[in-house]
C-alpha cells in the first residue's frame, strides 16, 4: 500500500466573485521514504493542495471531490476530531514564509513540546527532553530550546520548524516553500537536512516550490502543476531529460544556467488563465507555442508517456521527441 494516494482531488474556494477551482482533479502518490517535488507558478494551487491533505483549508475552501488516502484511510471522510488526531502525528507542515510560523511570545521549545504533549500525553519535562534531542537532530544546540523566536536567525527558525515538524514522528512532512526567504547557502543546508532526515526516518516528503532547479537533487519525483491541475508527473530524470509537457519545458528553460554564458532566463510570456472563468480546452493553450485547434476545444487527459511518467498534453509525444 502506498503511504499517500491522492485521487481526483478537487478543492474549490467559494468567494463572492465566484468559485476558484484552486485544485482541480489532482492525482499523485507517495511511498515511504520518497520525496515528491510539487512545482508551479504562484497561484497554481500548491499550498491549497498541501492544506487539503491536512484538511486545514480556510472556511471559503472546501474539498468537493476525490480521495486522500493516507495508509488507506481517507482523510476527506474523517470527522473533525479524527482529523485533529492525525494532524502533526501523521502529517506535519512547514509553512510558506516560516519566518512567522513561530509564535513570537512563546519559547520555541515550549511550542514544540506542546505538540508532543497533545499527541502523546506525556509530562512536560519528558516532552522538553525530546525537544532537545530534536534540536540535536536538526543540528542546533539543545539549550536553544529556551530561546524565543526573535533570538534565532532565519535559517535557525527554519531548522526549529523542521524540528517541530518531526516532533511526533510524522509519516509525511510537507514543506511549503521552506527555503524561499533564505540565502542560497542556508537554503542548500536546509534542503540537505530534509533530504537526509526523510531517508533516515523513512518519511514521505512533499516539497513545494516554484523553483524547479532546487528539486533535482532533493526529490525522487516531480509533479508540475498548472492552473489547479498536475500537467506532468514523473521521476526527476524523466522530467528533466524526457520532458513531455510544453509548460515543463518552459519552466526548465527559465532557470539560469551558470555554466553557460550569461543568459537572461526566457520567462513565460502570458499570464496563467483566470480560474474564475475557465475556457474549454487545455488551460495552458493561450501560452503554448504548440497549440492546435484540438487544444482549444478539448481538455487533454493525462497519458502515460513512459514508466510512471504522465503528461496531460495532446502533443506530449512530439514534446517528448524534442519539439
Amino acid at each position: 500500500m502506498a503511504l499517500l494516494e491522492v485521487k481526483h482531488l478537487k478543492t474549490y474556494f467559494d468567494t463572492l466573485k465566484g468559485q476558484y477551482k484552486a485544485v482541480d482533479d489532482v492525482n499523485f502518490d507517495l511511498e515511504y521514504g520518497e520525496a515528491l517535488g510539487l512545482v508551479g507558478e504562484s497561484g497554481c494551487g500548491k499550498t491549497t493542495c498541501a492544506l487539503s491533505i491536512a484538511r486545514l483549508l480556510p472556511k471559503e475552501g472546501k474539498i468537493y471531490g476525490g480521495k486522500i488516502l493516507l495508509e488507506g484511510t481517507d482523510m476527506v471522510q474523517l470527522s473533525d476530531d479524527q482529523i485533529r488526531e492525525k494532524r502533526w502525528k501523521d502529517v506535519s507542515i512547514v509553512f510558506q514564509g516560516a519566518m512567522n510560523a513561530l509564535n513570537p511570545v512563546m519559547k520555541v521549545g515550549d511550542q514544540i513540546a506542546e505538540a508532543i504533549m497533545l499527541h502523546e500525553k506525556i509530562k512536560k519535562e519528558d516532552a522538553l527532553r525530546r525537544t532537545e534531542r530534536l534540536f540535536e537532530l536538526v543540528e542546533m544546540p539543545a539549550d536553544r530550546i529556551r530561546n524565543y523566536p526573535h533570538e534565532f536567525s532565519g535559517g535557525m527558525k527554519q531548522r526549529a520548524m523542521i524540528a517541530m515538524a518531526l516532533a511526533c514522528n510524522p509519516k509525511i512532512i510537507i514543506g511549503d516553500e521552506p527555503t524561499t526567504a533564505l540565502d542560497v547557502m542556508v537554503q542548500a543546508q536546509i534542503l540537505n537536512l530534509l533530504e537526509k532526515l526523510r531517508r533516515e526516518l523513512n518519511m514521505g516528503l512533499i516539497l513545494i516550490t516554484h523553483d524547479l532547479s532546487i528539486l533535482g537533487e532533493t526529490c525522487d519525483k516531480i509533479a508540475v502543476m498548472y492552473a489547479g491541475k498536475i500537467v506532468e508527473i514523473g521521476m526527476v530524470e524523466d522530467i528533466f531529460e524526457r520532458t513531455a509537457h510544453p509548460y515543463t519545458k518552459r519552466l526548465i528553460s527559465c532557470f539560469p544556467n551558470i555554466s553557460k554564458d550569461k543568459v537572461i532566463p526566457a520567462g513565460i510570456e502570458g499570464i496563467p488563465q483566470n480560474m474564475l472563468e475557465p475556457q474549454p480546452g487545455c488551460s495552458f493553450y493561450p501560452r503554448c507555442h504548440l497549440a492546435t485547434d484540438l487544444c482549444k476545444t478539448e481538455v487533454p487527459t493525462s497519458i502515460e508517456v513512459g514508466k510512471k511518467h504522465f503528461s496531460a498534453c495532446h502533443r506530449a509525444s512530439e514534446v517528448l521527441n524534442g519539439r
Binding site: F95, Q96, M164
Partner: protein, 322 residues
C-alpha cells in the same frame, strides 16, 4: 527588563515632567486674563490693594526670579492658592481625586472586561450576525457624544423611570443611619455616570480587540498551531490572545492615564464632585493656579501610566525585554 532600562525609563519620565512644568509656566502666563486684570476690573480696588496682590502672587519680581520661585514651590508641593476656593490648590484637588478615581476607575474596569469579551467574540465569530451586531453597537457607542448619551440616560432613567437620582454623589442633606445605607445611596448615584462612561469606552476597546485579534488570527503561527492538531479554543487562548493583548495594554495604559481628566463631560452632566468637574469650574472662573495644578496632575498620571505600560509590555513581550 533590566534595572538599567527601568532607570532609564524613569529618567525620561522625569525629564518629560520637567518640560511639562516649564510649558505649564509659560502657558499660564501667556493666557489672557491674569489675576491682576480681574482685580483691576473691581472699581473699589485701591492701588495699595493691587500692589498687595502683586506682591502676594510674586508678580512684582523679575521673571527669572518668578521662574525660579515657581520651580521651588512646585517641588515643595506648593501649587499656589485657588482664586475661587481661596484655599491651597493641593487641598482643593486632593478632595476631588477619590470621587473621580471611583467613577472612572470602575467605568474603565467594566469597559475593559466587557470590551475585550465583545471584541474576542466578534473576531472569533467573524462575519456572523454576532459580529455584525456587536460591531454596530461598538461603532455607535464609540461615536456618540458623551454629553448627549448622558442626557439621554437622565431622560430615560431619571425623568422617565424615576430609577436613579440625576446628580451628585449622595442625596444632599440626608444623614445616614448606617454605612450600608450610605453605600446604597452612593451606588444609586453612581449607576448612571458609570454606565455612561463605560458605554463610551466599551466601543473603543471592543473595536481594537476585534481588529488586532483578526490580524493575529491570520498569522502563520496560528495556522501552525491548528496544523499541530489543537482545538480552536486552545489556539485562541494560548496562541492568539497573548499576541492580541499587546496593543490592548498600550491603549488601556493610556486611558488609565486620563482617568483623572477623562470625565469632564460625565462629571459635569451628573454634577459628580470629581476632578473633571473641578477642571470645568476652574476653567469657567479662570482660576489659573487651580487649572495649573490639575494640568500637572493629569500629565504626571499620563506619564506614569506610560512608564507602567512599557514595563508591563516588556514583561509579556519577549522581544522588548532586551
Amino acid at each position: 527588563m533590566h534595572k538599567g532600562t527601568i532607570a532609564k525609563k524613569l529618567f525620561y519620565a522625569f525629564v518629560t515632567i520637567m518640560i511639562v512644568l516649564v510649558f505649564n509656566y509659560i502657558l499660564f502666563r501667556v493666557l489672557p486674563g491674569d489675576p491682576l486684570a480681574m482685580m483691576m476690573r473691581n472699581p473699589k480696588a485701591t492701588p495699595e490693594m493691587i500692589e498687595g496682590i502683586k506682591h502676594f502672587y510674586g508678580l512684582d519680581q523679575p521673571w527669572h526670579i518668578q521662574f525660579f520661585t515657581y520651580f521651588k514651590n512646585m517641588f515643595a508641593g506648593d501649587f499656589g492658592t485657588s482664586f475661587v476656593f481661596k484655599a491651597p490648590v493641593i487641598q482643593v484637588v486632593a478632595g476631588r481625586i477619590l470621587p473621580t478615581v471611583l467613577l472612572v476607575g470602575l467605568a474603565e474596569i467594566i469597559a475593559i472586561l466587557v470590551g475585550i469579551v465583545i471584541g474576542v467574540l466578534a473576531a472569533w465569530k467573524r462575519g456572523t450576525r454576532l459580529d455584525v451586531g456587536t460591531l454596530g453597537f461598538s461603532l455607535i457607542t464609540y461615536s456618540v457624544p458623551t454629553f448627549w448619551l448622558g442626557m439621554i440616560m437622565i431622560v430615560i432613567f431619571c425623568v422617565g423611570l424615576h430609577l436613579f437620582p440625576t446628580s451628585g454623589m449622595f442625596t444632599p442633606g440626608k444623614s445616614f443611619i448606617s454605612t450600608g445605607a450610605m453605600l446604597h445611596d452612593l451606588v444609586k448615584h453612581m449607576v448612571l455616570p458609570v454606565l455612561t462612561m463605560s458605554l463610551v469606552l466599551i466601543g473603543e476597546y471592543a473595536l481594537t480587540m476585534r481588529n488586532t485579534l483578526i490580524d493575529v488570527l491570520s498569522e502563520d503561527y496560528i495556522t501552525t498551531a491548528r496544523a499541530k492538531g489543537f482545538r480552536e479554543r486552545y489556539v485562541l487562548t494560548k496562541h492568539a490572545l497573548p499576541n492580541a493583548m499587546l496593543p490592548m495594554i498600550t491603549i488601556i495604559a493610556i486611558n488609565f492615564g486620563f482617568i483623572v481628566a477623562g470625565a469632564i463631560q460625565v462629571e459635569t452632566i451628573f454634577s459628580w464632585p470629581g476632578l473633571g468637574r473641578l477642571m470645568y469650574e476652574a476653567l469657567s472662573a479662570r482660576d489659573y493656579p487651580l487649572l495649573q495644578g490639575i494640568f500637572l496632575l493629569v500629565t504626571v498620571c499620563v506619564i506614569v501610566a506610560n512608564v507602567l505600560a512599557d514595563i508591563t509590555y516588556a514583561y509579556i513581550d519577549p522581544r522588548v525585554k532586551n
